[in-house]
């Protein structure tokens, strides 16, 4: 795999470029979720311009490092097409109950691994699709139940079975929600990677 450049509009999308785009999307997507769901104080977020939108990203250095680790690892795994899913689990701090689960399914076109030329899809089209998904994430606040208690988040990644677990990572269960409602959001595709987004939340036991 000789191509090391980020896919540019005139060059089409390469596997590495696609991996970067998707990893970047996850970084901004996770930041948006943390802001919109109020996991961290809104004052700790700052506005940046991305995808033609104003997005909020955290300024907390620890959190930024944590997310960067994940993003870097995701880039690599996306490039090797061995990651299938990224999940953001939001659980209550007191009793560890999972309240919300954001699931990003990744479909990777493995034929892109062969040294074909870059795929034809403009950066702009991909950006538009990503923008729609992020807007939807923002909009979910209108129907997701309030997170009453203080919450913490966790990131889970579903990879191929035979992957060697890298340092800093450990194995985990899927942390499903008991009794959940699910809503499927839009998906976007770079022609090499396709990302489907879905959010599951705890159904209230209120009559």
């Amino acid at each position: 795999m000789a191509q090391n450049q980020l896919g540019r509009e005139h060059q089409g999308i390469t596997l590495r470029g696609s991996a970067e785009l998707v990893a970047e999307f996850f970084s901004y997507g996770i930041n948006s979720i943390l802001y919109q769901r109020g996991i961290y104080p809104p004052e700790t977020f700052t506005r940046v311009q991305k995808y033609g939108l104003t997005l909020l990203v955290t300024t907390d250095s620890e959190l930024t490092n944590y997310l960067n680790n994940v993003t870097e690892q995701m880039k690599e795994w996306l490039y090797k097409c061995i990651v299938q899913r990224l999940v953001v689990v939001i659980s209550s701090i007191e009793n560890n109950e999972v309240l919300e689960r954001w699931q990003f399914d990744i479909e990777c076109d493995k034929t892109a691994k062969d040294d074909n030329g870059p795929r034809e899809k403009s950066q702009k089209a991909i950006q538009d699709e990503i923008r729609s998904v992020i807007r939807q994430i923002t909009a979910t606040v209108t129907f997701l139940p309030l997170l009453e208690s203080a919450c913490a988040f966790d990131l889970l990644i579903y990879t191929d079975k035979d992957l060697a677990v890298p340092e800093k990572w450990e194995e985990s269960g899927p942390q499903f929600i008991t009794n959940s409602e699910e809503v499927r959001l839009r998906s976007f595709t770079t022609t090499i990677h396709k990302v489907n987004t879905m959010v599951a939340y705890k159904r209230d036991s209120v009559p």
């Binding site: 203080a150 079975k161 990572w169």
Partner: protein
């Protein structure tokens, strides 16, 4: 309790993407989905292995496989609803599953022969079907180190936002008296509870036009008379927007079947029916003889109402419904707000050469922007308000593009109106208090909050003399608030300054 009601009303399984985009309309309750009913009746299915959402202690017991096979014995079958994106999605019922899984695990070593190869294949096929990939082959990894916690004492502020009963009043004493009760309450039965429509407008001749589903009624403030101006005969078509021409004798009506109609109010006759859009017309704004209309497609059309070929320009700057549209008072700029969270400011370009692009695009709002209003005493100052996901009011200078100020209104903003009598503006809100808030400009402090509506406010409009604000809400009432009443002395000065302006349009429209 307000919080409970809100969550109840909002939560629902909705796989329909269109419905998801419509953020600000209430989601009706739906019967339980098929998968829910099935899950209840048939019990266990694929389950995650030994996981309650607990931390490390549990994980050491679980193997690296996420199981997708149901226990071979005990006669339970995998549920037969295959997953398709957006369709019935099988969600395992965890509480019953764990027991079966546990018993399976305990006994599986004793009879491995139970599973025939074909059965294994079948189960594997179902697993791939249900999960989209072979979950058997997947490993779930978690970045170690504790997930970062928010600092101590941090309370999720959304809870405060959605459960507040009363916002603390401004600490300064109000320097003027604003009556807390409306002057008058009018009945507005069948008014459509749709955030994106603009269903009321008050003319310079003191007629308040209200669209109730497929009819438009005019109410005269002084005489109290009510006239039904029109009723759309087409079944299932409703009025989606209203706008009076400056002179107050013609009313533009936008409909859900993409028409823009022009009505002569004195003769109660339709003058024109302009069709150029292909989706409902939710917003209208006049600039002298140009009528601009915004549609659900995100396109804005300019219509020259004097000529036969009325469609003179198209502005494509939004990808979703244009719900806020307003020409500046000097006619130089058109501000538009859409469901795509963007605010565009368009120049008044003459001549049809090429595409017109906005001079400014503001992306800071995190929700649909319906409230768009130009400041009457300061040039180039625009106020915008965001929907439920955003809740902020922002003031912009459209020349420099700077956001002059921003304030969190804690509630969906449906409309903003600047006062012509005072240096203030008023905003209309939704959940939880359905109130109107009067703000002082430029200090952005609250002067008064007007409560009374029992459901979210949909639109605001101001009387021609600038003293009264009418609010239409989902509780099917129109309330008239006399909040900008002028001091008699100041009033006299103002009247001297005003002069009647001749109208050009009278002679032009046929």
């Amino acid at each position: 309790m307000a919080v409970v009601k809100w969550t109840m009303a909002q939560f629902l399984f909705e796989a329909d993407l269109q419905g998801l985009l419509k953020l600000d309309t209430p989601i009706p309750n739906a019967p339980p989905a098929r998968w829910q009913r099935k899950a209840k009746e048939s019990g266990p299915g694929p389950s995650p292995l030994g996981v309650s959402p607990m931390k490390p202690a549990n994980r050491s017991h679980s193997s690296s496989k996420t199981p997708s096979k149901t226990p071979g014995k005990s006669g339970s079958k995998i549920q037969s609803t295959p997953t398709r994106a957006g369709g019935d999605r099988y969600i395992p019922n965890r509480s019953t599953m764990q027991m079966d899984m546990a018993s399976f695990l305990l006994t599986k070593e004793n009879d491995p022969a139970e599973e025939s190869p074909t059965k294994k294949e079948q189960q594997k096929a179902w697993a791939v079907n249900l999960n989209g990939f072979d979950v058997e082959e997947a490993k779930i990894l978690r970045l170690s180190g504790k997930p970062q916690y928010a600092p101590e004492g941090y309370q999720n502020n959304l809870k405060v936002l959605y459960s507040q009963k009363m916002t603390p009043g401004s600490s300064r004493k109000n320097s003027r008296y604003v009556p807390s009760m409306p002057d008058r309450i009018l009945d507005a039965p069948e008014i459509r509870n749709d955030y994106y429509l603009n269903l009321i407008d008050w003319s310079s001749r003191n007629f308040l036009a209200v669209a109730l589903d497929n009819s438009v009624y005019l109410w005269n403030d002084v005489s109290g008379e009510i006239i039904q101006l029109l009723q759309i005969e087409h079944p299932d078509v409703y009025v989606s927007s209203l706008s009076w021409i400056k002179e107050g004798n013609y009313l533009a009506v936008g409909t859900s079947n993409a028409e823009v109609q022009l009505w002569d109010v004195q003769q109660q006759k339709r003058l024109r029916n302009m069709t150029s859009h292909c989706a409902r017309v939710g917003s209208l704004s006049w600039n002298s003889y140009i009528l601009s209309s915004g549609a659900r497609t995100g396109h804005i059309h300019h219509h020259d109402v004097r000529v036969a070929e009325h469609h003179v320009a198209t502005l494509a700057g939004h990808t979703q419904e244009v719900c806020g549209l307003e020409w500046s008072l000097d006619g130089r700029y058109l501000a538009s707000g859409g469901n795509d969270n963007l605010v565009n400011v368009w120049p008044c370009a003459q001549g049809g050469s090429g595409d017109i692009s906005p001079v400014q695009t503001f992306t800071q709002h995190q929700g649909a922007v319906k409230a768009v209003a130009w400041c009457p005493w300061q040039m180039n100052v625009l106020a915008t308000g965001g929907g439920t996901s955003d809740r902020h009011i922002r003031i912009w200078n459209v020349c420099s593009g700077a956001c002059l100020s921003s304030v969190d209104a804690h509630s969906q903003v449906c409309s903003i109106l600047w006062s012509t009598n005072y240096k203030e503006f008023i905003s209309g809100h939704g959940f939880a208090q359905n109130q109107l808030v009067i703000w002082k400009y430029p200090s952005m402090t609250k002067i008064a909050e007007l409560q009374g509506h029992t459901a979210r406010i949909l639109n605001l409009t101001m009387s021609p003399d600038g003293t009264t604000v009418a609010s239409a809400a989902a509780d099917e009432t129109l309330r008239l608030w006399r909040c900008f009443e002028m001091d008699p002395i100041k009033k006299k000065e103002k009247e001297k300054a005003n002069s009647a302006k001749p109208s050009i349009i009278h002679q032009s429209i046929r």
